[in-house]
């Protein structure tokens, strides 16, 4: 199998995988970074969202071959201890129920706030509508994003 050099959470990895293996399964099965979740495999739910070169991407849609020389951040690398403003905001708002979709939700929010420190409600809505939550925590996600915005603009 071919080998690929990856930069995940500021660490260098070399993985042996078929070139078409989605980043999602590389993270979960090969690198043991199971914080990134499988939800659909077809870019419909956002559970697998990670940040690549500053942008939120569906890791189920990126083959490992297309991830070389990219900077990838997963939920495990958002902070060491849950101290990223988005994680703190999620903590304060008490967002999760089952929690399964929340890494993806937080990665989408973190990517957005990384590029735009004061996004409008319309922009937030458009971005966050890429991520599904079956438990229905949207109201708290909204609250958390506004807490994070206040925090990063202090």
């Amino acid at each position: 199998m071919p080998g690929f050099s990856l930069d995940v959470n500021n660490k260098k990895y070399t993985v042996e995988a078929e070139a078409d293996m989605p980043l999602l399964w590389v993270l979960r099965d090969l690198l043991d970074l199971t914080g990134t979740k499988y939800g659909c495999g077809v870019a419909s739910c956002g559970s697998c969202t990670v940040i690549m070169d500053g942008n939120a991407i569906y890791s189920c849609q990126r083959s490992v071959g297309s991830c070389v020389n990219k900077k990838i951040i997963t939920i495990e690398g958002l902070s060491d201890d849950g101290s990223h403003p988005v994680q703190k905001a999620w903590q304060q708002a008490g967002v999760p129920q089952c929690g399964y979709c929340q890494p993806g939700q937080m990665m989408t929010a973190a990517a957005l706030l990384g590029k735009n420190k004061r996004p409008s409600d319309e922009v937030i809505s458009a971005e966050m509508s890429n991520n599904l939550c079956r438990c229905g925590t949207y109201q708290r996600i909204k609250e958390a994003i506004h807490i994070a915005i206040e925090d990063i603009n202090k």
Binding site: E18, G35, T36, S44, T137
Partner: protein
Amino acid sequence: MKKETIDRRNFIKLSSLASGSLAIGFMMPGLKALALPAFECEFFQPNAYLKIDKQGKVTVFVSKQESGQGVDTALPMIVAEELDVDFRNVKAAIAPFGTIKGSEHDTGGSQSVLEMYKPLRNAGAVAKTMLIAAAANEWKVAPSTCAADNGEVVNTATMQRIKYGELVCQAALLPIPKEVTLKNPKDFKVIGRSEKRSNLTDMLTGRSKYGSDIKVADMLYAVAERCPVLDGTLISVDDTAAKRVPGVLKVVSYKGTGAPMHVRAGVAVIATNTWAAIKAKKLLNITWDEGKKNKESTEQLFKTFEAKAKAKPQIEVFNKGDITKVSGKNEITANYAQPFLAHATMEPMNFIASVKGDACELWGGLQLPDWAVNTVATETGIKKENIKLNLTLMGGAFGRRLHFDFAIEAVKIAQQIDKPVKLVWERTDDMQYSMYRPANYHQLKAGTDDTGKLISWQHHVLGTPIAYMTDGPNNKNPQEMEGADAGFCYDVPNVNTGYTPVDFNINRGWLRSVDICVNTFPVECFIDEIAAKLNKDPLAFRLSMLENRVDFKTGDRPGSLTQSPARIAAVLKMAADKAGWAQKRKPNHFIGLATHSFIFAKSYAAHALEIEMLEAKKFRIIKAVVAIDCGLVINPDGLLNQMQGGFVFGLTQALKGEITISNSRVMQDGFFSYELLRYEEMPPVEVYMIDSKEEPGGVGEVGLSTVAPALCNALAAAGNRPRTLPIRNEGFSWV
């Protein structure tokens, strides 16, 4: 593995009979801990629910399965209350399967708090009493002169204090008291105050391990192709191309099962990673025998419902007064329909099985683990005592994981390879091979007298019963009538309700709120229709049949449930009031109301939805108001989260939830075709709680059943009443 399991079970049996000192080794497999003198103990564990270590750290073992409903917080809060410790010092852990009675792990019906409130208070009080006794011994005073306070025992005469952690080894030597005094609820410090989820940091850092995240040594991955028609069989499989995919190790097939789980016949690809298995699955060339029932469709099913609705119900369920004497008088009739629904948990089904010889070890999330283990034993020939189950966190359940078809599949696959296998369901599998909430149809008739009083109520429910799947089609009483049976809450003198089962070749199962959701929609819409016909205010009309009605039993048996019309009325009034029911509405604004009780869980909820009509059939939800009475609230923030989430679940069903069947196959294959509510569609929700001193009820399911009827009642007030869910099918759209 076998030996260890048996040793542990024997050990627990021993410790439950013996004193606290024996229980020190509770969590340690084997007998080694028993040989330790008590003063060298590591922790104190007087029962299966909690332990305290020498640093005073408390671990509560949660017997109910966490899937987002917050039992990992509410249940430890109950223990912390009686134990008198700071909740921040309490860690929640999954109670290992086998350490308590199997059925105590059962998680469903919103029963966790109801069932565990007393046992957990007792468990906490037992530990506290023993710690107090240990301190009293130390000080050589009577225990009655000592008190517990925030993780310490206080000598009330001298005001000396000892930390719990310093007492654990002495407490462990004491006999377990048979009776303990529980706190007066007015002294509660933990119960009733909002707490964040106990495992929140793990959830927010990606450290939480759901079933699908578990890895065991040498584990392989499997993905399966299943017979597209329920109860079909495999004829042949050509796996030549599939086996060429790098990483694929083996292709195995397995037979389906009958009741209770109706596992479909399948072919599984086993590989070194999930992706290889997914790729190879697409290359399988399988011929199935679909059986004779491969032409069924929901289109035909609803025609059958409609035809049969005109006849008398096959099963009479509830009769009061004499409907025949008053029927036909000022009659109002309406029919309602609701589709099959899928649970669509964000974490697709998954399960790990490792079979070695005649024993196996399992990992995964299950709501009914005891039944699952029993059935796995029956279906695979592995003896129950040789099955070790490790329970995990679930990424959503909503009733889907009450079913354990995936666990049986995983064992059938693992029996054919010498390494542990994690079976992963793809989203398409989850959508197409679920246990669907039954499709249902309702015919309602009401009669009023000349003064405008409602004097008769007839409700004929038609459905595809779950019991035909779990018990088989010979079940003689498969009624799905909660909400339309003896618990029917409105005070009407003549009532007749009944059920007609229609079999259909798709698997059915329990979905959050089950029958209550099925029947609350037609009942609460029809009440509004009658009020409209009589030119009565829908709120006043409901209250006139609820407020003055005393609580009543729904049957003669000792366990029969009690219905409380007054509490149903109180939440309705609160929701209407907070939504501004009595105030003048803005132009094109309309409010719809609905109320109900989730009778099993002693909880009552009402919704008031305010909408603004933008076009004839296009609307915006301005806000949703929920009023909830669940008795004493353990964790107000947890309740709030459940009500907010329940609203989303209910609104999704009302707007767009629908599974359709053609040629006995599910037509939806994922979130593009089975759409869930998205962030941009979320209206503001306000939650109001009734301040109650009643015993605590359950809240996982009470928050959704009144959403669809409240919305439909608002739309009816605006001029167009939908009677079929999802309302999208009747041409409604929303922003």
